[in-house]
């Protein structure tokens, strides 16, 4: 009886050690099979604290969240360079086919926030720099999905995946990257909905 107990204990200890090793491997991202092996774009450690290794942790802006995230997810400003945000904020009267016009005060505050934290800002993170590097200096894409960086990172996905009901379109980052609004695009926390 005592022997059986010791055996069970030994097996449990072994499982715990193996399990911890596996979790560690997942956390460190050593099964990353994408084209750049040493990057993972913001990751969550087991303490639940978010490390923004790829995208600088832009502070949230209440006005931006209220006005812009009423219609779409709050895209972190570091996903597009300043010339893109300037173009977007200058065309809100016809924003991807919709009137998203704002009063001048709200518009100025939001534009200031976006420019201060844009992909080409001074203290930007690695992901922002890579996005910015994939855009020509004179280009001002108004869709993150138009950037070469985005295309390169999503090339393996069939276009039909984005059309699934719970995803809708490639602009709905949060459908697969649950931490997207906080700037976390960690490949290991990607969950692609099945429908």
């Amino acid at each position: 009886m005592k022997k059986a107990f010791q055996l069970t204990l030994a097996v449990l200890v072994l499982l715990a050690v193996l399990g911890a090793g596996w979790l560690k491997a997942v956390a460190e991202g050593d099964d990353d099979d994408d084209d750049d092996h040493h990057s993972s774009y913001g990751r969550e450690s087991f303490e639940g604290k978010i490390h923004f290794r790829g995208l600088s942790a832009a502070p949230q802006n209440a006005k931006y969240t209220k006005e812009c995230a009423a219609c779409h997810m709050a895209y972190p400003p570091g996903l597009l360079p300043s010339q893109s945000w300037t173009k977007i904020m200058g065309g809100l009267k016809n924003h991807f086919g919709e009137d998203a016009s704002l009063d001048p005060k709200a518009s100025d505050e939001i534009k200031g926030y976006l420019l201060k934290n844009s992909a080409d800002a001074n203290d930007t993170g690695r992901l922002s720099r890579r996005i910015n590097d994939s855009i020509g200096n004179s280009d001002a894409p108004i869709r993150i999905t138009e950037t070469n960086y985005f295309k390169r990172k999503h090339h393996e996905l069939d276009p039909s995946v984005f059309k699934r009901k719970s995803i809708g379109s490639p602009s709905n980052c949060v459908a697969c990257h649950s931490g997207a609004e906080k700037g976390s695009f960690n490949e290991h926390s990607v969950r692609i909905p099945k429908w």
Binding site: C71, N94, D99, S101, I167, G168, S169, N172
Partner: protein, 140 residues
């Protein structure tokens, strides 16, 4: 006591001047009625029927597609809707969503944007009043 009196008058004054302050649907309808009387001589009150027609009216949108209020808000204003970018829109009917028509600035902003998108022009005061009257007539 007298100071308190002045303080309350002061705040009432701010409430009147500041369009972002809370309003009730009754306040909004009163103001739209005043504007409607200026817009058309024969104005004789809002109609829930006309509001319903406006809600369901299909138009050709900017991109050539058919659009109406119900495209995003669904055919039943008691239900949640969805934006084209996959965000939930809380129900429009005050019977199920008491936040509706309590913020003048918000109401005006969305009428401006959405009338421009669906009708390709701003809505008249009568249309706004009819629309709110229709939504308020909906029971749980």
């Amino acid at each position: 006591m007298r100071t308190l009196h002045f303080v309350s008058i002061f705040f009432l004054g701010i409430g009147y001047l500041n369009p972002a302050m809370a309003a009730t649907a009754d306040d909004l309808l009163k103001d739209y009625a005043v504007s409607a009387m200026h817009e058309e001589a024969g104005f004789s009150g809002f109609s829930s029927e006309s509001g319903k027609k406006l809600y369901m009216l299909e138009q050709i949108g900017k991109n050539g597609e058919r659009v109406s209020c119900s495209t995003c808000h669904t055919n039943d204003p008691r239900h949640q809707g969805m934006t084209r970018a996959n965000k939930i829109i809380e129900p429009l009917a005050p019977a199920v969503n008491s936040d509706r028509f309590t913020d003048r600035e918000k109401v005006e902003k969305w009428f401006r944007r959405n009338c421009n998108d669906v009708l390709r022009r701003e809505c008249t005061a009568r249309e706004k009043g009819d629309f709110i009257t229709f939504l308020r007539s909906i029971k749980k």
